[in-house]
Amino acid sequence: MSVVETKAERAAGWNRPPAVEPEGEGELLEVAMGPHHPSTHGVFRMDVALDGERVVRLKPVFGYLHRNHEKIAEGASYLASMPYTDRLDYFCSLTNNWAYALAVEKLAGQEVPERAEYIRVILAELTRIQNHASTIGFLLQEMGASGTPLMYAFREREKILDLFESLTGSRMMCNYMRFGGCRVDLSAAWLEATKKVVAGLPAFVDEFEALLTGNEILMARCQGVGVLKPDLAVNASISGPMLRASGVNYDIRKVDHYGIYDRFRFRVPLGDHGDVYDRYMVRVLEMRESIGILNQALQEIPAGPIMDAKAKLRGFRPKPGEAYGRIEAPKGELGFYLISDGSPNPYRYRVRPPSLINLTVLEDMCLGHNVADVVLIFGSVDIVLGEVDR
């Protein structure tokens, strides 16, 4: 399918959200949804103008959690930024680690041993599963399902976090990957435990689907809500499951061939409508594909070193230059852009946060919908404020 805009759309300039006119007379009700609101995933605000309950204007307001991560990183060594990346998207610290390590490896030209690549894939896919499960749980929470799907998601997530803890030492702030490999090797016992957890995951996804997928209320709430057209999605740099739910076949694991994803057989699920239901289903189907990747990786993982022999822990100074490394994080394209001036600290350190950029089209998706749909659409974007505000 074509992802290029039509001539008429191009002539109209750029993709601004269409104006929605209030239907009746009288004043609009302006509501500040957030920063203290139960479903803004932390401290986030949407300035919403309502005509009745219909949204005619919506402006996202960011920055409540801003701590200038990039500036902190410019004053710290390359290694010292690694634990800070955990705190960007605190649901997926391992993929954040990977993205940062990848960017630094590109910058310094380091090679990653095969075993370390396998460990990274295993951890990244486990991260993806737990992130998608919790995202769906939160989405349903916002739909008012009183936390039941969220609790089921957290039940499985606990098992995965236990694995993370026994390997990396921390459940969420893993700080595990290093430039040129991984910090500690995994044991045979860990591998066995992981196989056991992974073997239980398909049943969990089945349970989730039995609970949710066919539910008429869920379908009624999600289908046709928050539609994102593929050309706007591409133009607005949307990434991750949200982009694929709009039907754009773009998975960085397939496109960039980073790590060793070429070795695994997996498919990229695509949605045709680009609405909340597609975003939900794409995540469910991605969990199933991730389980497939995990099964392959856990079978095939070779023995060997886990760190590049040339990698240095102390006194790491990459040559001057710059690099942009990106991975398919669970929330979308997570990129790190680094400029080195030859000193131990990066001259410029930039995070390309998928959560923030995926919110670009929030207003487009919400206009004309209800307040109830706004929280739903917002939940389907899947953001973490630690990453949005950095």
């Binding site: 634990p83 803890e165 066919g214």
Partner: protein
């Protein structure tokens, strides 16, 4: 038919409701103060300083090199170097910290200090029940509070501690061998210098205390 999916979902929750009475998998709650999950061996909470032997001050491995202070991402470590020196585990005279503070309200448990420490002196604890009502003083740990014995280290991270001990023993052996070689060389030089004497006197290096003299 309308309602089919709803009934399917209701059956799923009913399954979990009933399952919670019979199955462990469907009742995952741990009642924390009474029940505890064993901490993972790799678990990390806040750093502590390892000392050898029984005297925390004499056995402290830290040589106040301040690498951890520099590398610490949130800069929660504060070290003051000593003016004098004390012997380390291998008997070498080293500087030691007169002040070693970690503000665990700032510490983010990242383990970077452990990784960069060349002396195996700082390790991660698994103790997490550190709540206190003193916001500043209670969360600022000084070197006395931070010092934990090597046996304690063995008890919380047995595999890692064994590796560390082996490494230190190796280092110590190397240091001793080096010292011996140096002594032998010095003796030979002395012998050569003396020239008259036929045999060099055998010099024994005093054996310093082993690092893991825990059994005592």
């Amino acid at each position: 038919m309308l309602g089919e999916g709803i009934i399917k979902g209701m059956l799923e929750t009913a399954k979990n409701f009933a399952g919670s009475f019979v199955s462990e998998d469907r009742l995952t709650t741990v009642e924390y103060p009474e029940q505890r999950i064993p901490t993972a061996e790799n678990a990390r909470v806040f750093p502590f300083l390892v000392y050898d032997g029984s005297d925390w001050e004499a056995g402290m491995r830290c040589v106040a090199c301040q690498i951890c202070e520099k590398e610490c991402p949130p800069k929660c470590i504060y070290i003051e170097k000593s003016k004098d020196k004390k012997p380390d585990f291998a008997g070498k005279m080293q500087i030691y910290p007169t002040r070693f503070d970690i503000d665990i309200s700032v510490c983010m448990s990242c383990q970077i200090c452990v990784e960069v420490c060349p002396f195996e002196a700082i390790k991660m604890d698994t103790q997490f029940e550190l709540a206190t009502d003193d916001r500043f003083g209670g969360l600022l740990l000084d070197r006395r509070e931070l010092s934990k014995s090597n046996e304690y280290y063995h008890s919380i991270h047995p595999t890692e501690a064994a590796e560390v001990d082996a490494r230190l023993a190796e280092e110590k052996r190397a240091a001793e061998a080096k010292a011996k070689a140096a002594a032998v060389a010095a003796a030979q030089k002395a012998a050569a210098d003396a020239a008259a004497k036929a045999a060099a006197p055998k010099i024994e290096t005093p054996a310093p205390k082993p690092p893991d003299a825990g059994g005592q």
